[in-house]
């Protein structure tokens, strides 16, 4: 599989096909059992942990919350790969908070925000890493329609700025609408990569998803 700047990628596939696993492997959170991850012709996972995090950042699907850090503290932790004084670059942190519409929540505890707001906080944290590659695992799952639309517009803006954005999504119609290219996974393998129409042919839908149509 290959990902290039300027293209919004969607990773699709049935449950258990390996979508989240793929993202975690690309960030080195999980070690791959096969294959390698390359960034600009160098093996990414052989680099230092902080160097990997400067290249690729991950927005997890369901992050665990153990302590009630403030929203601003959570977002500022995204600056860690750039140096230990995580409070530095307040301008970037404020920009990220504003762009995902959680600036008004900055002092609130993360346990006191809704799941949708929490999702946006974690997107903000990924933005402050300033990494050229952004991986998002079901980023709009808990969002209302307005914020879903806002997030997809944000991702489009980041892609237009030259970032590589890869999103996993269960909603195939939304993926078709917003993603420039999709990669279909099944049982841990990439079946096809290309435009939505090229990848999701009738045969593939029946074979991979076990249904005859994408309409529910």
């Amino acid at each position: 599989m290959a990902f290039s700047p300027g293209i919004l990628y969607g990773i699709i596939g049935p449950n258990g096909s390996g979508k989240s696993t793929l993202l975690k492997t690309m960030t080195g959170v999980w070690k791959p059992t096969e294959g390698k991850v390359f960034w600009q012709d160098e093996e990414l996972l052989k680099k230092e942990r902080t160097e990997i995090s400067k290249v690729v950042s991950l927005v997890p699907q369901t992050p665990m919350i153990h302590f009630d850090f403030s929203v601003e503290d959570i977002v500022s932790m995204g600056r860690y790969p750039h140096g230990k004084s995580v409070g530095a670059r307040v301008d970037i942190i404020e920009w990220a908070l504003r762009i995902v519409d959680v600036l008004h929540l900055r002092h609130r505890k993360i346990t006191q925000v809704s799941s949708g707001e929490r999702q946006r906080v974690y997107i903000a944290r990924a933005l402050v890493t300033e990494s050229p590659v952004l991986l998002l695992d079901e980023p709009t799952t808990n969002l209302d329609i307005r914020h879903k639309s806002d997030i997809w517009k944000l991702l489009r803006m980041l892609v237009d700025q030259g970032k590589i954005v890869v999103v996993t999504n269960h909603d195939l119609r939304v993926t078709e609408k917003f993603c420039d290219e999709v990669a279909l996974l099944n049982q841990g393998r990439c079946v096809r990569q290309g435009s939505f129409g090229e990848v999701l042919t009738q045969d593939v839908i029946e074979e991979v998803f076990g249904v005859s149509t994408l309409e529910v």
């Binding site: 950042s57 153990h66 302590f67 009630d68 850090f69 403030s70």
Partner: protein, 332 residues
């Protein structure tokens, strides 16, 4: 936040002179003797210089060590009820010290107790590492289970040894007094035993305060944010072992303190370890000094510092328990 430090320093400035002044010998005699020792030719033993001052340093170091190691363990294990003893290193240190006392090595080699405490803590840590690697993945659940199992075994072995020696009542008395956590007869020898371990341990925990925050989010998130989870976690375990070893060597076993204090402070200042760790350092020392002062002021000779800490800590724990249970239900 700054106001808490101001309050704490104010309390410290009050506690220190009270602790140094209180004693059987009148203060004017104590002060004169101290001045003669420092600026004159006197070589006479002085309560202030040879007993009260080293005891205060030991108490402040122990309180800071227990507070900080509790805060670190709670963040690393994502559990506000974790304590410095969750990995069982304190039980390992304790067992080694008990063996040292039984064989009388502490009578011949002055620093055998801190060496035993440190060795016991470190070997226990190494054993936990090897056992968790052997069982598969080195994750937090395996660490906790291994720590609990090892603690149980080490406590049982210590108990069996003491039961076997129950007829040697003087030895059992010495061990019991030490295990109960005591600051009686503390001297500069105890400061020499504890201070290096405390300074290195506290510095290590302070140095990793940003990483501890990120590790509190979870292993996968910490990895994805650039923290080398394995390396940092084991370094922090080593720092906690140093702090635990120093405390065991100097004052013995003080339970519940490292569990309750960071928990209370987290409610005041939040979970940010950049604030919590220095707050634990200061508050821990002050709290333990106040407890010790209270014991001596009211002449509660039947109780040791470890007893009082366990009683007060247990009461606080019971008060905090409903809130912790409510949070656990909400997170489920």
């Amino acid at each position: 936040m700054k106001k808490y430090f101001v309050y704490l320093f104010t309390i410290l400035l009050a506690v220190v002179p009270l602790t140094l002044v209180m004693g059987d010998t009148p203060w004017d005699i104590v002060w004169k003797g101290a001045m003669d020792r420092l600026f004159g030719n006197s070589q006479q033993w002085n309560p202030l210089l040879d007993e009260r001052l080293p005891r205060l340093i030991v108490i402040l170091c122990s309180g800071a060590s227990l507070g900080v190691s509790g805060a670190v363990m709670q963040s690393l294990f994502h559990n506000p009820l974790a304590s410095p003893s969750v990995l069982g290193v304190s039980c390992g240190g304790s067992l080694f010290v008990v063996v040292t006392i039984i064989f009388g090595w502490h009578l011949h080699y002055p620093y055998s107790i801190p060496i035993a405490a440190f060795s016991g803590c470190l070997l226990t840590l190494l054993l936990i590492y090897m056992l968790t690697r052997y069982s598969g993945e080195v994750n937090l659940y395996n660490l906790i289970l291994t720590g609990v199992a090892l603690s149980t075994l080490l406590v049982a072995v210590q108990g069996a040894i003491m039961y076997a020696l129950r007829d040697r009542w003087q030895l059992i008395q010495t061990i019991t007094e030490w295990v109960s956590g005591s600051t009686v007869d503390r001297s500069w020898k105890h400061v020499h035993m504890q201070l290096p371990l405390t300074l290195v341990g506290l510095f290590g925990c302070w140095n990793y305060r940003h990483e501890i925050n990120i590790l509190a989010l979870g292993e996968e998130e910490a990895n994805s944010l650039g923290v080398d989870v394995l390396k940092v976690r084991w370094r922090l375990f080593l720092c906690v072992s140093l702090l635990t070893a120093g405390t065991i060597a100097a004052v013995g076993f003080i339970s519940f303190f490292g569990l309750v204090l960071p928990h209370i402070l987290r409610k005041i200042c939040g979970p940010d370890n950049r604030k919590l760790i220095p707050l634990c350092m200061l508050s821990g020392g002050i709290a333990l000094a106040v407890m010790d002062f209270t014991l001596r002021f009211f002449e509660l000779n039947s109780f040791s510092l470890g007893n009082i800490s366990a009683i007060i800590g247990g009461i606080f724990f019971l008060i905090l328990l409903p809130q912790v249970q409510r949070k656990a239900v909400q997170s489920c």
